[in-house]
């Protein structure tokens, strides 16, 4: 297992490097750059040159790329001071180190993601399992119907409605905002409650359907029938035999969902005017802010790779066929 993790980690680092290279050169190849954008309307060649120099864009491409990549490992010096490793450069637009900007925004996204995950795992998977267990019952029909309706909603549809109800017309809740948990755990909880619930609602619906259908699928498996033929109680069979197999698709999707959410819940963040990683990514791209975009992209890719490995480890834990082959 350790060897597996080591092997995968090395692969992840290589992938990150390649991703960085591809992003960098795609960005550079784009028709307009930050300097000419920043230079604005009364741009003169002199002014453009100054901006390029100030941003380090006058250096050869390979040099720029090397500076960026080596900065991640070794840190870099900027006119504004030393940027400690992992240095993802300094944002063209704000002049702040990208890493500290990401770290500043990450708690918002992390709170959303983890809060949402708790809700959609507990409620979504729970409801799905209950529906599968009581297949055909009223409970099943309600759960299936509700998840059908809710999963066809979108965050940008549900979000504004929730805002109108709970914030704009009644004032029951404040505008969603992130407060550090260390400052005030209650505000931390209430501040992101609406966006977390709205995001989780959509996911809950999806997880309900997924959990239900995979449980039903598993219940039809022959080995589950064998377990029943041995006289094991249906509850036991449901939670020991069927559940184990149903976990695999759930874990797969969960890994993808969580890693992409940690890389930025763009729609949720924009809908609720939150300053998370997703918003940062959008801002970086629209400002043609190369260091910020690269930083956020690599940060997101890091999670995707990490969760890829975690998902594989989870597979091995769940399924001995994976573990022992």
């Amino acid at each position: 297992m350790l060897q597996f993790i080591f092997r995968r980690s090395v692969g992840a680092v290589v992938t990150l490097f390649l991703l960085g290279a591809v992003t960098f050169f795609l960005f550079v190849a784009a028709p307009s750059d930050y300097a000419s954008l920043a230079c604005g309307k009364d741009c003169s060649p002199q002014r453009l040159h100054d901006i390029r120099e100030a941003l380090g864009l006058d250096q050869p491409l390979a040099q720029q790329f090397w500076n960026f990549m080596s900065g991640i490992v070794m840190g870099r010096d900027f006119p504004t001071g030393h940027c400690n490793a992992p240095c993802l450069g300094v944002s063209f637009y704000s002049g702040d180190p990208v890493w500290s900007t990401i770290m500043d925004r990450f708690p918002t996204t992390l709170t959303l993601t983890l809060g949402g995950a708790v809700v959609f795992l507990v409620v979504g998977v729970g409801a799905g399992m209950l529906a599968a267990y009581k297949r055909g019952s009223m409970v099943d029909k309600v759960a299936t119907g509700a998840s059908m309706v809710l999963s066809s909603f979108q965050i940008y549809f549900l979000g504004p409605i929730v805002l109108i109800i709970f914030v704009y017309s009644t004032g029951w809740m404040d505008n969603p905002q992130y407060h550090p948990i260390t400052d005030d755990p209650i505000k931390w909880f209430t501040g992101l409650l609406l966006p977390t619930l709205v995001m989780a609602t959509i996911f809950t619906a999806q997880y309900t359907r997924m959990a239900r259908s995979s449980m039903i699928e598993q219940m039809a498996e022959e080995h589950v029938r064998t377990a029943r033929a041995k006289g094991m109680s249906s509850k036991y069979v449901f939670f020991r035999y069927a559940w184990r197999g149903a976990l695999i698709p759930i874990v797969t999707v969960l890994g993808i969902d969580i890693s992409s959410m940690l890389g930025g819940a763009v729609v949720t963040e924009i809908t609720f005017s939150l300053q998370g990683i997703g918003r940062l990514a959008v801002d970086g791209a629209s400002h043609k802010d190369l260091p910020l975009t690269m930083g956020v992209m690599l940060f997101g890719a890091f999670f995707i790779l990490i969760f890829n490995i975690l998902t594989d480890i989870a597979y091995a834990y769940i399924d001995p066929r994976v573990r022992l082959s």
Partner: protein, 613 residues
């Protein structure tokens, strides 16, 4: 979509990344909300409102007067009913690009700068909207001699920075000198260029490459500080507008001892009534009272609220929703540079309780269809287009009467010298265009000249404009080929001298209330270069001559020359068809008092507001 604000984004002469980038973010946000059916027209009241706005604008456009020492002494006249205390919430879509005064040129940072930084001079506005220039750090608006080539300023007593250190002439000198440093590149270029004069016209930085940081200073023949209280500027040509130039945020004082160069952009030292308590770029900015600011030295600023909480990343759509709803903290909220989002304009004006919380007025921008004179060489084509364009449908796309007004000429209502009735193409009578006349003119044109290439930005606003332009021109017999341009690099693309387009919509507004800040950058034949705002590539020698004359004249004489230049351009050169004036429409919370439109900022006057309870 918020067309009105997007106009601002494209029109703003000071506007670079932050504003244009903001437009993109707005587009993404609105797209995700799936808002359809962007408003076509905003109400039947447009006529009356426009007239009222124009009346207000006529005040806005009065020439600026220079104020003496008595008028520059604080404290500022109290705002009626104002109270101290409370915290104002400020909402803004995109983060500030800069906080280093030398880098500030855009209006969002400019608004913040009005709370934070003092300059040699500052604009002062009375209850009627009359704008004057008073002394800020200086005792008055400056004394000129030597035919306007030399300007002398004397510093007030008792002005300190947030650390409690007195501001001296050395600090002012440092502020000027650091403009030449390489890390200052985003601010206004006027003062540096003027000081550098003809000798360093190609690159003003050569006058002081070290920016004053290497022990080398500007010679006394350029900038003289004979004692701690006196600052003297010497130019090689008359600079009658200097007091207005120095009132720009970009020339706010940076106390020499506090300068941290590149890092100053994150943590500048305040001299105004507020100072920075915390700043997270692109996320939040908290201002608290600066106890070292002495109201007795300031004739304009107030210090009513205890502080300001800026939250960035709130889209105009959300800002408007929150302010209409007026719940909780939103009662104490204002918009920084954003306005009422255009699809919600009806919700605002339709509700008297909300409508009374608005401020509105003209922005300094004139939107026009610029012709590439290198390609559209026949003046008859340009005239025919100028007759044909449909201001009405274009304005409808900008949010209607609250987004813009028909522009009959090149001067905005905010500009001294603005003539409301100067309308050589009959635009006011027929805002949809003079179809008959245009059709007739087009008939007489050779077939090859009827085909036109129109560049438009691929933003939502740009798409609407494209439709309006295509419709109007096709109707009179032109064949329009529209070419889409990436909205982020729109101005970059059309700013190229060798661009492959015949016409494009551009906007420009004054840097301070003088036609010189419009005619010179936009039509000066000396400025036909890549990236220059002379998008039409005007090379007419008579225009050049008039500009040169006006720049050296005193303001009264110059006004006549500018007017002559404008009339000559619009009637004899036709480098662009005037389309519409952009307007500002902002909303604030019910607990905000003292809100009024600031003519200079074209935004809510942030120095006067207070929290009611």
């Amino acid at each position: 979509m918020d067309n009105n604000r997007q106009v601002g984004a494209y029109a703003n002469m000071k506007s670079f990344t932050s504003r244009r980038a903001r437009a993109i973010v707005v587009a993404i946000a609105a797209g995700s909300l799936a808002l359809t059916g962007c408003s076509e027209n905003k109400g039947s009241k447009s006529g009356t409102d426009s007239k009222k706005d124009q009346k207000e604008a006529s005040v806005q456009s009065k020439p600026v007067t220079y104020v003496d020492a008595a008028g520059s002494t604080g404290p500022a006249a109290e705002v009626p009913g104002a109270k101290s205390g409370g915290t104002v919430q400020v909402y803004q879509e995109a983060g500030l690009s800069h906080l280093d005064p030398g880098q500030i040129y855009v209006s969002d940072a400019g608004q913040v700068a009005n709370l934070l930084f003092r300059r040699l001079t500052q604009f002062q506005e009375d209850d009627k909207g009359n704008v004057s220039v008073a002394g800020d750090l200086a005792t008055d608006s400056g004394k000129s001699s030597d035919g306007g080539k030399t300007w002398t300023f004397t510093l007030k007593d008792g002005v300190k920075d947030a650390n409690g250190n007195a501001i001296t002439s050395a600090d002012v000198r440092h502020t000027v000198e650091r403009q030449f440093a390489k890390f200052i590149f985003d601010g206004p270029p006027y003062l540096q260029t003027w000081l550098a004069g003809n000798k360093y016209a190609s690159d003003y930085r050569k006058l002081l490459p070290g920016g004053g940081f290497d022990g080398k200073h500007l010679p006394a023949s350029v900038l003289d500080t004979p004692d701690a209280k006196t600052v003297i500027f010497h130019f090689d040509t008359a600079r009658p507008d200097l007091p207005q130039t120095l009132a720009m945020a970009g020339y706010a004082v940076v106390p020499a001892k506090t300068d941290t160069k590149e890092s100053y952009d994150k943590a500048p030292v305040a001299t105004g009534p507020y100072k920075i308590a915390s700043y997270k770029a692109g996320k939040s900015l908290v201002l608290t009272k600066n106890t070292n600011w002495d109201p007795k030295t300031d004739s304009v600023r107030h210090q009513y609220p205890d502080g300001f909480n800026f939250t960035f990343g709130i889209t105009e759509t959300t800002q408007t929703k929150r302010l209409i709803a007026d719940q909780g903290d939103d009662k104490n909220a204002i918009q920084l540079t954003g306005g009422v989002e255009s699809t919600q304009i009806q919700d605002v004006i339709g509700n008297p309780a909300v409508n009374k919380r608005t401020v509105k007025g003209y922005q300094p921008y004139v939107m026009q269809l610029s012709f590439n004179l290198d390609r559209v060489k026949d003046i008859k084509v340009r005239q025919a287009i100028t007759y044909a364009v449909n201001s009405k449908s274009l304005i409808a796309g900008e949010g209607g009467a609250y987004g813009g007004d028909v522009a009959p000429n090149y001067f905005a209502p905010t500009l001294p010298g603005y003539e409301a009735s100067y309308d050589p193409y009959g635009r006011l009578k027929a805002p949809q265009g003079n179809i008959a006349k245009a059709t007739e003119m087009v008939k007489a044109l050779p077939a090859a000249e009827k085909k036109l290439v129109f560049a438009y930005s691929n933003s939502e606003a740009g798409q609407k404009r494209k439709v309006a332009i295509e419709d109007a021109l096709t109707k009179v017999g032109f064949e329009v080929v529209s070419k889409e341009v990436d909205s982020a690099s729109y101005y970059e693309q059309i700013g190229k001298l060798a661009n492959p387009y015949d016409m494009y919509i551009t906007g420009w507004g004054q840097d301070w209330p003088s036609p010189g800040t419009v005619i010179t950058p936009v039509y000066d034949p000396a400025q036909v270069t890549d990236g220059s705002p002379n998008y039409a590539h005007v090379k007419d020698p008579k225009v050049k001559e008039l500009i040169q004359t006006a720049l050296t004249q005193d303001p009264v004489e110059a006004a006549k020359t500018w007017k002559e230049a404008e009339h000559y351009l619009l009637e004899k050169v036709v480098p662009a068809a005037p389309l519409w004036y952009t307007k500002q429409f902002q909303l604030s919370g019910s607990n905000i008092g003292g809100a009024r439109y600031g003519s200079v900022s074209s935004l809510l006057d942030i120095n006067r507001i207070y929290v009611k309870s």
